[in-house]
């Protein structure tokens, strides 16, 4: 479950993120080799993004520089430095899905949601992201809503799924 930002902000008025949560994650991974990636994943899972303000805290704990941590965060497409919409809708842009109409699907979804790839809907509900292969190439075109895959996707199926799962994002 993703925690909502409103609650984490309340915990520490000085910093715009939940320092305690980050500290707990850092402690969990302490002294484990190559721990930066799992730490960033855990922070993003807990806070919904990796707050730039948390970078010094992470760097200190790992005996690294802020630059190094920033370099890593900015390298990987998954890591976000700002909160996203409540749900992430990833639409596959790779060849197999192209062969099955993903270009049209993407355009239709952009029109339906009113936002482009890499953007969030006006109501903050859905962030639309490109993804390059979900491994669902035998049921192209494919999308993923949160962790839920959807094969042979259509705009209707996607919007129905978004509506049905409106409450929480698994």
């Amino acid at each position: 479950m993703k925690r909502q930002m409103a609650t984490t902000r309340d915990l520490d008025p000085d910093l715009p993120y939940d320092t305690e949560a980050v500290a707990g994650i850092l402690e969990h991974w302490r002294d484990i080799p190559g721990n930066l990636m799992p730490i960033l994943h855990d922070i993003q899972a807990a806070l919904g993004y990796v707050p730039p303000e948390s970078v010094p805290q992470i760097a200190r704990a790992l005996n690294q520089s802020r630059a190094e941590v920033h370099g890593v965060i900015s390298f990987y497409h998954d890591f976000r430095s700002a909160p996203a919409g409540r749900r992430i809708l990833k639409v596959c842009q790779a060849e197999s899905c192209q062969a099955m109409g993903s270009r049209a699907l993407t355009a239709d979804l952009e029109a339906e949601l009113g936002c482009g790839l890499g953007e969030t809907t006006g109501d903050g509900e859905v962030t639309l992201e490109p993804v390059y292969c979900l491994g669902l190439c035998a049921c192209s075109p494919a999308v993923m809503i949160g962790d839920e895959p959807l094969g042979r996707a259509t705009v209707a199926a996607v919007t129905a799924r978004l509506a049905a799962k409106g409450e929480v994002n698994p």
């Binding site: 520089s65 802020r66 630059a67 920033h70 370099g71 390298f75």
Partner: protein
Amino acid sequence: MWNEIRGLREGVDYGTPPRQGQPVTLTVDGVEVTVPEGSSVMLAAVEAGRAVPKLCATDMLESFGSCRVCLVEVEGRRGFPASCTLMVAPGMEVRTQSERLTQLRKGVMELYLSDFPEAEIADGWSEFHRTLDDIGIKTHGYGTGRVHFDLPVDDSNPYFLFDPAKCIVCSRCVRACEEVQGTFALTIQGRGFDSKVAASQDDPFMQSECVSCGACIQACPSHALVEKSLFSGGYERA
């Protein structure tokens, strides 16, 4: 390793740090040369008086292999390995010059030029400019396209400035900050074409972890990181 550096000749950049090891003999363009095991072909080529053009390599830093202008041919091997990351081997026969190599090197330099301010190509004296001269190229055939000229100049530091328009993303500054200075204040932000040298979290240098030691400026081959004192009338982009 520094003990060996002392033996190096004044003003010569061997491209990769010297190594200690058993002597290995090879030929570079037919010139026989003996260097310690673990040395790069690039270093051997300098010793043989057959220096290979290079941009991302300097003997202050471990080899990196990113610029791809130091390509050579090796007898009995397919392809065009980078001489900075290729280790010497006994009996190796290296060619540093051929039409094919020139073609590839020009091709690589063309790519650099396609993202380098045109007005600053002619009268520069940086390592990058010298390499352009060495390879013999001044223009590119890519026409207009995406460039990094819009990125702002960072002149926050009182002593030096960073102009991303002239950055060739060789990472020498990043590596110098890590390997030479040990501060790790620089990184490459983003990836691919968007790769950009950034201090700390893309902060102005003055607000970053930078300790202003100058190692990055020393390392920069293209005057993208450069002393302000070299500009008598302030810095203005062409």
